[in-house]
């Protein structure tokens, strides 16, 4: 035995949390407290090659993590190394061609090898502590401080399953080498065995961990290569710490490895089994449990396992399952706890790392450990015991359609990026002369400068400058229509063709201004900025998105923060009467002017906005002999366009709200009156009396006016028809809210009330809960709330990101608000919350009539159900999108109660089912039977669907080769969504070919369509190399 401590393996002196040897034995990886993963050259620890160039020792430093790296694990094929970190993500690294780089500014020499992160697995909501690859490398299991084990599909990088049963931090995961189970160990002092077939809990074991004391960094348990034992960590049997061993099948603690003086952190079985060569080997009496095989047969030739155990007591012990005493005890190697171990592929070297920031290697020889079984012998042994294991390692595909849909599914998730690539490929750019010129000018400028610099003879820079002259940067610079400078960088070390693509890409976005679409974000914003002079008008800026979303005409009302609607219980003797109280926030509108602007897009963008302004005027009135008022409050209403007054009027009392659109104006006063003006300032109606002051007002693009009074009444009128559409009260929101919030009973704070895009009143309370009034149900629906704080789904709304839908906007508000509250604690989700959240999101987006969000939610929901393999819900969803059975459709339509609407928010349900739901379901093979069933059903439907859905232009063809022609048609199709999609046509054409053929055609079509894109991908890959 030779032991060594290579001092050069270090992570800036910080802890080394993990070590793993590449299965081909060429490298080993370490992960440390410096947030880095380092890859080391095995040759440098080879006893024969000690004199290797020190520069070749460290092959790469991977700096992709933003937290301590707790675990590094090589895939069995050795191509990838996965690392889990405190930053909650798992990074997958791969060696790319070419030489390594260094991080700019790190001051370290460039890496010898070019290792790059190729995949990031996001999903854990706390530190990732232990990870392990499945025996066939198709999956990865990760244990985290969020109490879960995640199972990741390593082909797609999608988390397929979340295992939730541990009640505390999960600190170790291990795979059954046979592939049937995984085991996880947690701070809840249990070990759980999970079935990999359906991810159900096979056994929860309580054992000798119960009495364990103190906490450990890890509980890295290990599964023996024979598959029979699981050695666990951190057990305690008075008076010693132990490593309890579970036996397969019973899953009960069979025996313990005893003797360590502190908790055991890690155990690691040797990859292979060993056997004695000679009977003269020091053989003590055999323990009865040896390894679960029959005890007959050559006693000494019985193969046994070799296991290494690392403990907080800073020692490592190595045992064989053929002996009750440790083979070897390594003391004084480390100054702190041993935290990870790894065996070399040949089985004779053990690598260990410690929190003291060092590693140690111990090389054994066959006389010490025995003779290693060959791989074939081990396979044979496993086969004898478990049968052929290969079939068990994956959920087998039962139909080719599943595979096809899986491809679609992965493409769906990757489609966004692909789409942008495609865009770049497709656009034929007309690089405007300007661009070219600027670029040229710029280049010459740069060159000039270089010459200048050279002329000065500055020695410091000479080398780099001359270098640059020989190789000037070939970049293109131009100004975008919005005045921002944009640079198309020079691609370095890539084929010229790629460069061209880069130049072409996306420039269609930046064509000269006149071609920019109306409603362009920039032109839309400009007038608004000028209107910001009024101090009370902060809201205007905040409401910009509305401008975009209402295409033609927009009205803006002043919305004041923190109006208090107060319910006064019984003071006036009337129960349930609502009072609206204005808090300090509005600071008396008497002193501030109210102002709104209306943009009328009909008249072209050049038109200046029309402003409606309300200025309070106070006249001192000396009433003769008057006792009371000496002041009369009046408000002057004036309507202006770029300084020129269009009309004006004077109203008694203080104006609280204004609203307007190009059809009408509405002015609400403190005394509860509401005046409606026509466009030109005629009083369209006598003053309407609302009973209490108007606090919120909104109008849509045409004739709808929404009003909320201080007493909490809500009205919606259609002013064109002079009809009240809705009269209700906010009372129901008050009562529901008092339960939730600790505010004074009967008070709610309302932030905004407006008409949603679908035209229903939408109320946002100060709690950021949003409510939508459903006019058919005649009641309030809560569409956004904070009921699901730990839902995985909610964590994915990114705050303040690019423009999102209406619902997302509300959600983000809720989250921002929640985030401000201190004392947020990490609650782990049991999956229930995520599901409920998704379901309510789905319903909410439907209520808000926000189709894109509806589809998003639907996709996420179906993916979630597929992942959880929730068949009954999936079935219900699919059925609702499939509709009543064929043949009964006609009968059903006559029955009004059961009539099934084939469209949802204007999109055909079958299309959603085929294009979104089914591919999403394909992500988990566990639900493939269900998937197949619905694919069959769906194609049946399509076969029976009336032929008139086919546009006249497309001649039906049976031939699969007819796809290109339909592609042409697709290209010429307008993007507007129609009831019939090209894909539908294809499927309908294939009637006689049967289901699977129809499906294939669909896929073929898709793939043909993305051929360019794939080429492009190929290019990018080439470029990457």
């Amino acid at each position: 035995m030779i032991a060594e401590k290579p001092v050069w393996v270090k992570h800036e002196g910080l802890q080394i949390f993990s070590i793993d040897v590449q299965p081909n034995g060429e490298r080993f990886a370490t992960g440390g407290g410096d947030h880095k993963v380092r890859i080391w050259n095995m040759k440098s620890v080879d006893t024969d090659l000690q004199n290797l160039d020190p520069k070749e020792r460290l092959l790469a430093t991977l700096r992709d993590h933003f937290g301590s790296v707790n675990c590094v694990r090589w895939a069995k094929h050795g191509r990838y190394v996965a690392s889990g970190s405190d930053d909650q993500v798992i990074q997958i690294h791969e060696r790319k061609p070419g030489s390594g780089t260094t991080e700019f500014g790190s001051g370290e020499p460039p890496d010898v090898e070019n290792w790059k992160a190729v995949m990031t697995l996001r999903g854990h909501t706390a530190d990732v502590v232990d990870i392990n690859w499945s025996p066939d490398d198709s999956m990865l299991a990760s244990g985290s401080l969020d109490n879960t084990v995640h199972i990741w599909n390593m082909r797609s990088g999608i988390c397929t399953t979340v295992l939730r049963a541990h009640l505390s931090l999960v600190k170790g995961v291990t795979w059954d080498p046979i592939g049937t189970f995984i085991a996880s160990q947690s701070d809840d002092k249990t070990v759980i065995i999970w079935r990999t077939s359906d991810w159900s809990l096979a056994h929860r074991t309580v054992g000798h961990w119960e009495k364990s004391l103190g906490s450990t960094f890890f509980r890295r348990l290990g599964w023996s290569p024979c598959g029979h034992f699981i050695t666990t960590t951190h057990g305690y049997q008075k008076p010693r710490h132990s490593a309890p061993v579970l036996e397969r099948g019973e899953w009960s603690a069979a025996f313990d490895f005893l003797g360590h003086n502190a908790p055991i952190i890690v155990v690691k079985f040797n990859h292979s089994m060993f056997k004695r060569t000679t009977s003269s080997a020091p053989e003590t009496k055999r323990a009865g449990w040896s390894n679960g095989t029959s005890k007959s047969g050559g006693k000494d030739l019985q193969p046994y396992n070799v296991i290494a155990i690392g403990s907080q007591d800073r020692t490592i012990t190595v045992w064989t399952t053929a002996s009750p005493r440790p083979l070897f005890v390594a003391k004084h190697f480390f100054g702190q706890s041993v935290v990870d171990l790894s065996w070399s592929p040949d089985g004779y070297s053990l690598f260990a790392c410690s929190l003291d920031g060092t590693v140690a290697m111990i090389h054994f020889n066959p006389t010490e450990l025995g003779v290693r079984l060959t791989d074939n012998e081990l396979e044979e042994l496993k086969k004898n015991r478990y049968g052929d294991v290969r079939g068990r390692q994956a959920n087998l595909v039962e139909s080719p359609a599943q595979l096809l849909l899986e491809t679609v599914s992965t493409k769906l998730s990757g489609s966004k990026r692909a789409a942008s690539d495609v865009q770049q490929n497709q656009v034929i750019t007309k690089p405007s002369v300007n661009v070219e010129n600027t670029a040229k000018k710029r280049k010459s400028q740069v060159d000039d400068r270089n010459k200048g610099a050279e002329a000065t003879g500055d020695t410091l820079n000479k080398a780099s400058t001359s270098n640059r002259v020989s190789n000037p940067v070939n970049q293109k610079v131009y100004r975008r229509p919005d005045g921002r400078k944009r640079i198309i960088p020079e691609a370095v070390g890539v084929p010229q063709q790629e460069n061209n693509i880069a130049v072409n890409g996306q420039s269609h976005n930046f064509l000269p201004a006149p071609s920019a679409a109306p409603g362009n974000r920039d032109s839309g914003d400009t007038p608004v900025e000028t209107s910001n002079r009024d101090s009370s008008m902060k809201e205007i800026m905040g409401r910009n998105p509305d401008l975009k979303e209402r295409p033609r005409i927009t009205a803006r009302a002043t919305i004041t923060e923190s109006l208090v609607i107060e319910k006064v219980p019984g003071t006036s003797g009337n129960d349930g009467i609502l009072n609206v109280e204005q808090s300090v926030g509005i600071k008396g509108s008497s002193s501030t002017d109210l102002l709104i602007r209306v943009f009328d897009w009909k008249e072209g963008e050049t038109t200046a906005p029309v402003c409606l302004e309300a200025c309070p005027k106070e006249h001192a009135l000396d009433t003769v002999g008057a006792v009371s008022t000496s002041m009369i409050k009046e408000t002057e209403i004036s309507c202006k366009r770029s300084g020129e007054t269009l009309w004006s009027d004077r109203i008694m009392g203080r104006v609280t709200v204004l609203a307007g659109n190009p059809n009408f104006w509405a002015v609400g006063c403190e005394d509860g009156s509401l005046q409606v003006y026509t466009k030109c300032g005629r009083r369209a109606m006598p003053t309407m009396m609302m009973g209490s002051a108007a606090t919120f007002i909104d109008s849509d693009d045409s004739w709808k006016l929404l009003l909320v009074t201080r007493k909490g009444s809500i009205y919606v009128w259609d002013l064109f028809n002079r009809k009240c559409i809705l009269h209700d009260s906010l009372a129901s929101l008050v009562s529901s809210d008092t339960k939730l919030s600790s505010t004074v009973a009967g008070t709610i704070k309302v932030i905004s009330v407006k008409l949603s895009k679908s035209g229903s009143p939408l109320v946002v309370l100060a709690t950021r809960h949003a409510f939508l009034f459903d006019t058919s149900l005649m009641c309030w629906l809560r569409v956004a709330d904070d009921c699901f704080p730990s839902s995985n789904f909610s964590s994915s709304w990114n705050l303040g990101s690019a423009p999102c839908g209406e619902l997302a906007g509300l959600q983000v508000d809720v989250r921002k608000y929640m985030a401000r509250k201190p004392g947020w604690n990490r609650i782990t989700d049991d999956g229930m919350q995520t599901r409920a959240h998704l379901e309510s999101q789905l319903a909410s987006s439907l209520a808000l009539e926000s189709p894109s969000e509806y589809r998003q939610c639907l996709l996420a929901y179906v993916r979630f159900l597929a992942r959880e393999a929730d068949e009954s819900r999936l079935r219900e969803v699919c059925e609702s999108f499939l509709g009543p059975p064929t043949g009964m459709a006609e009968a059903a339509t006559s029955d009004t109660n059961l009539s099934w609407d084939p469209y949802v928010l204007g999109v055909k349900k079958h299309k959603l089912l085929r294009n979104d739901i089914l591919p999403a379901m394909a992500s988990n093979r566990k639900v493939q039977r269900l998937l197949n069933e619905f694919m069959d059903l769906l194609s049946e439907y399509e076969n029976t669907e009336p032929a008139d859905a086919i546009p006249k232009g497309s001649a039906p063809t049976i031939d699969c080769g007819g796809v290109p022609s339909s592609l042409d048609q697709m290209d010429s199709d307008p993007p507007a969504v129609t009831a019939t999609t090209p894909l539908t046509i294809d499927n309908e054409k294939q009637v006689s070919l049967g289901n699977s053929a129809a499906l294939e055609t669909g896929i073929v079509c898709e793939e043909t369509g993305s051929e360019d894109q794939e080429k492009h991908d190929q290019n990018s890959r080439d470029q990457g190399s």
């Binding site: 994915s796 303040g800 423009p803 894109s852 470029q1023």
Partner: protein, 193 residues
């Protein structure tokens, strides 16, 4: 993982007179293509104590962002001396080069900059009024301070890890039918068919 790594920054024309424009040749590698442009900014820290005296010298968009290695020259005007307190012009200050994606800053490179007179005599006895034309600027290029921030470059990939929603997409056939429709798609036409 960060989709973008700076591989090198070469400061061109350094040292140079204070009034000369800044020029940085920036090389970066891109590991995954991004939809949006990168935004590079150059910020001159006018005074160490006061953030408000920072001057944004230049902000450029760089794209398209495809996989590969790229380089470009970022040129920026010299800071406006009138916005810097007299006593802060001469001496050591900081120049920040930052890069953001979708308004999220993910990398920041800080350089020390030393401003001093190139004339020995002026150095010895600095005039009461700063002679800006005589000030020489020296960026200490060998010690950049690099700070990285974790951001999610592919928010739409959230679904891979949890149940995140796919990117905001309209109802259309982009997913399955390929490029033609993607191309024609205009924001106004998205919703409510």
């Amino acid at each position: 993982m960060s989709s973008i790594n700076i591989t090198n920054v070469t400061v061109l024309d350094n040292p140079a007179p204070f009034v000369n424009p800044f020029q940085f040749e920036i090389s970066y590698e891109c590991l995954t293509s991004l939809k949006d442009d990168l935004e590079w900014k150059l910020i001159y820290v006018g005074s160490a104590e006061d953030e408000t005296s920072d001057q944004l010298l230049e902000s450029v968009l760089v794209g398209p962002v495809n996989v590969g290695n790229y380089r470009f020259v970022l040129q920026a005007d010299s800071p406006d001396p009138s916005k810097i307190r007299e006593e802060d012009i001469i001496g050591v200050t900081v120049l920040l080069l930052t890069c953001s994606y979708m308004d999220q800053e993910f990398i920041r490179v800080g350089y020390y900059v030393n401003n001093d007179y190139d004339d020995e005599q002026l150095r010895e006895e600095p005039p009461t009024k700063v002679l800006i034309d005589k000030v020489q600027r020296n960026i200490l290029t060998d010690k950049p301070r690099v700070t990285k921030f974790p951001i999610n470059f592919h928010p739409e990939d959230e679904q891979t890890g949890g149940d995140g929603p796919p990117p905001a997409e309209p109802f259309d056939d982009t997913d399955v039918n390929g490029e033609a429709l993607v191309l024609l798609e205009q924001p106004e036409k998205l919703q409510e068919t």
